[in-house]
Amino acid sequence: MSKADTAGGPQPARPPSPQYLDWLRRERRDRTMVRVSQLGLLVVFLVLWEALPRLGLINPLFTSTPSTIWPTFLELLKTTPQQASILVHTWATVFATVVGFTAAMVLGIAIAAALWWWANLYRVLDPYLVVLNAMPKTAFVPIFYIWLGATFSIYGMSLAISLFITVLMIYSGFQGIDPNKIKLAQTFGASKWQVLTKVVLPGSVPTLIAALKVNAGLSLVGVIVGEFQSATLGLGYLIQYGSQIFKMNIVMTSITILAIVSSLMYLAIYWLEIVVMRRR
């Protein structure tokens, strides 16, 4: 019962030993090192990106430069192709991505639950799921455009890219639930529905978050690819447009915004994970 014992009364106050202080110092130094290195990498990248075109080592027409991104951004705030501010383009992309991964999550859980419920259904569908997941979904972009129209082909591509991997991940999470936990629920006479809602689903929360991490990123890929083909709005459209008229400033600014959007999405999921996993 050691855990409870140590969790019990407070330890008698003792000054920390010199070795411990030394260890703390080294810990702090390591942490600072990592942060500084992370920042350093970004700085080196930006400096190279700025310096190489200026020194004439690469053609600025091809790469643009970081220093032009902010002015380009300000310019695009006022007017862009299709007369919408770049914020409207960004919002269109973010909205479609949220639609995409939300749909992938909801459908993914529902399909995985169905596969768990009917083992034979899984046995039938397993090869198809694996093949569908391995298929390059981007091959369907033109077809989706014809089938679903401008807006829904983007949602469709976002869903198509992220759905199958989500189903496979969540299903394997369901399979990974300790069968003895299910047996325990059954000793109390739990129905299959109760096993699903009281054991399998709550036990799979870490898997659900892992799936969310994967499919949020993939949904964004699907949206951008979909926008290449069909949109008159969105960052994917801006990238396509900018490269067609050889304005790398527009392309690079859009890509920079995409990088920021990805980071914010990552942060949001990271915080969700902390909040949810606090209960474990």
């Binding site: 019962m1 409870a4 009281k198 709550p202 474990r280």
Partner: protein
């Protein structure tokens, strides 16, 4: 044979057999098991690993259905899990996403019982087992022995008449298991439960229970039954005391021979 047939049996097995089916063929796990347990009796079932001891408990709990024969509780054939039977598994299998109290009431929750009452009873049980200050802790914050006491509270919270114990101490260190054996035996006796303990630990069986049933190797059959009687404490000393009673070694040696323990080597 123990003289337990006088009262109507609480649990009765009549010619029970169980076969598992697989693509390679069928495996006979249990064969023609007949056994009856009187109300309030505490028996042990021992046998080597793989002899179908745990399967027998799954049959009594109604999770598995026998391929032959009948399982009766209170004279009624068992068709599925009932509230009369509580089952304590080899490990605690507490749900790590639920607090201790939420874990203890899961049975009531599944059975759709009155949750306010269940919470009250679970709190009472947990407090009695020395876990009163951990009600809202998560399982990972508890030690193995404490977790297994939560599992006991979870089993008893639904107020079963019959308690099945499937090597409930196997995951614990030896000191904790002996201490917990005392506690659990005392609790089960005080509450007048009918209990069936499955174990491969002869000492545990002899010290805790009133009758030991020996199963043969696969397919499991009832090989012999031994009534365990102690002179001390009206025949019911606590398990720890029983281990020091003069009768203990005799029973232990008899059962040791019965089990035909061979160490391959």
């Amino acid at each position: 044979m123990a003289g337990s047939e006088a009262a109507a049996p609480k649990v009765e097995l009549r010619g029970v057999g169980l076969r598992y089916f697989g693509r390679e063929g069928e495996t006979e796990a249990l064969q023609d098991i007949s056994l009856s347990v009187a109300p309030g009796e505490f028996i042990a079932i021992i046998g080597q690993s793989g002899c179908g001891k745990s399967t027998l408990l799954s049959l009594i709990s109604g999770i598995l259905k026998p391929t032959e024969g009948q399982v009766l509780v209170d004279g009624q054939p068992v068709t599925g899990p009932t509230r009369k039977v509580g089952y304590m598994l080899q490990q605690d299998y507490l749900f790590e996403w639920r607090t201790i109290l939420e874990n203890a009431v899961i049975g009531a929750e599944i059975q759709g019982a009155d949750m306010a009452k269940a919470r009250e009873r679970a709190t009472q049980l947990l407090t009695r087992y020395g876990l009163g200050q951990f009600l809202h802790h998560l399982p990972r914050q508890l030690s193995g022995g404490m977790r297994q006491r939560v599992a006991l509270a979870r089993t008893l919270c639904t107020e079963p008449d019959v308690v099945l114990l499937d090597e409930p101490f196997s995951a614990l260190d030896s000191q904790t298991r002996i201490a917990l054996a005392d506690e659990i035996t005392e609790i089960l006796r005080r509450e007048g439960k009918t209990a069936i303990l499955v174990t491969h630990d002869i000492g545990e069986a002899v010290s805790m229970t009133e009758r030991v049933v020996v199963l043969s190797r696969r397919p499991g059959r009832v090989k012999s039954q031994h009534a365990i009687r102690y002179a001390a404490n009206g025949g019911r000393p606590a398990p720890f005391a029983a281990r020091n009673a003069p009768e203990f070694n005799g029973y232990f040696n008899t059962l040791w021979k019965e089990l035909e323990v061979h160490v391959e080597g």
